[in-house]
């Protein structure tokens, strides 16, 4: 929320920053709290079903890490998984931190019953974002490879909305659900969610191997986004051109094993060090972290810069397609340069 008041700017009109920061300390962190999950999603970025070479951090270790984050200036947590509500002690950890940090939790919602929703409201969780990938059970359950998950996710969303929690729906756009995009909007609009986000598909985790089968072309994605009729009362969240941000300037992230990875979407490409072995701020100051936050990119889209105040679009997809963190984001209409998004480079 930005108050509209702009009076005192008359004294020294601040330059409109075109490249935010660099921040001296982090303000927002994504926690990949667990990679455990009770679904088996085709769109999983975390390889949830694979055996892990290291144990995940315990809740007590997370408690120490969050204390370190708070001391470093973080006051906004975006928590995702796996499925966060599978992590034993997670709700208690959340309750400990909501008095000092704004919290957003991303979940597939299948574990949320009335009692849990009531608890989440009571502890003042900020926003719950629920992944729902189809308007029909046929489409959603095929993507989660879990029969009945659509119905359980919808039930979870209803419990959240009924409890008075700011609930937002997420849709990862791909070849298997694009035909239901409008029906999905109509569905989530009828549920009472406050916002609906259409996310791009990232070539991460298990998705990589299925890319050819899942990915849409940029033209197909652009047409799908342009065709959305947003139901009254629902806010559309989307990051396609001309709102394609380079979020790196404000992001930081820690995965389930304590690795500081900059952003959850950089999880396969970046490791600034482990926060169990060094203070978080030390990882934040990693040279690559500084470079990613700087916005030093080869090209910038002027439209996206003017709406987002950052340059070059998403660094994860730029790196995935070009192998350089400074490259243009091919998901941006103005920066695509003929890159075929349906084919991953070798």
């Amino acid at each position: 929320m930005h108050p509209a008041f702009t009076f005192a700017e008359a004294s020294a009109a601040p330059p409109k920053y075109s490249n935010p920061g660099p921040l001296e300390r982090p303000m927002k962190t994504t926690l990949v709290i667990t990679e455990q999950c009770n679904l088996d999603c085709r769109l999983c970025y975390g390889r949830c079903k694979e055996a892990k070479p290291r144990p995940e951090m315990s809740i007590d270790q997370w408690r120490s890490v969050i204390n370190d984050l708070a001391a470093s200036g973080v006051m906004w947590l975006y928590i995702e998984g796996g499925e966060p509500f599978l992590k034993p002690g997670f709700v208690e950890l959340l309750a400990e931190n909501t008095p000092r940090m704004f919290t957003m939790v991303r979940t597939h919602g299948t574990l949320i019953d009335e009692a849990l929703a009531t608890t989440l409201k009571a502890i003042d969780v900020g926003v719950v974002l629920v992944d729902l990938w189809g308007a029909t059970a046929q489409t959603h359950d095929a993507l989660t490879r879990t029969p009945g998950s659509h119905e359980r996710t919808l039930a979870g969303m209803r419990h959240l909305v009924d409890a008075g929690i700011d609930t937002q729906a997420l849709f990862i756009l791909n070849r298997h659900n694009v035909h239901e995009l409008q029906a999905w909007f109509d569905l989530v609009g009828s549920l009472g969610t406050s916002a609906a986000g259409v996310l791009r598909l990232y070539p991460l985790g298990g998705v990589k191997a299925q890319w050819k089968e899942l990915a849409l072309s940029l033209e197909e994605m652009t047409a799908a986004i342009a065709g959305i009729k947003v139901p009254a009362g629902l806010r559309l969240m989307q990051s396609w051109h001309p709102r394609n941000a380079n979020c790196c300037w404000q992001m930081s992230a820690v995965n389930a094993f304590g690795d500081s990875i900059g952003c959850a979407y950089l999880r396969d490409y970046v490791n600034f060090g482990n926060v169990l072995e060094q203070p978080f701020l030390q990882t934040w100051n990693h040279p690559l972290g500084q470079e990613l936050r700087s916005g030093h990119v080869e090209r910038s889209c002027s439209s996206c810069n003017s709406t987002q105040g950052s340059h070059g679009g998403c660094r994860s997809t730029a790196y995935a397609f070009h192998g350089r963190f400074s490259a243009p984001d091919p998901f941006d209409l103005e920066l695509n340069d003929g890159v075929d998004l349906t084919t991953l480079p070798r």
Partner: protein
Amino acid sequence: MASTSPLCPADRLEHRSDLVVRPIPEIRLCLVYRPRPARIVTLNASSWLLFEACTGASVSEIEARVVQLADAHDSRPASSRAGEVRKGLQELVDLSIVQRRQPTPTTEGATS
């Protein structure tokens, strides 16, 4: 944003006590977290200035102080600037990050 009753010149304003305030001077913004109910408010430099002024001063005192600060750089009439300050303060109250200070009860007025 909840709409509250309009501010009066004599209203004394202060921060809510449970806020978490995170100045980010390098980008001229201040994040304010209000935990109950949870909400993040991003203050631009102007709103941040007003927010900082809410330490128990009255609305009229804050108006006078801020108008004076901008005097050298703003050719608009002082009344117009004061009106903008009032609107800005009202927004902070409506966002529930600033509140009216309750008068301290005096012993003489207290009943047992």
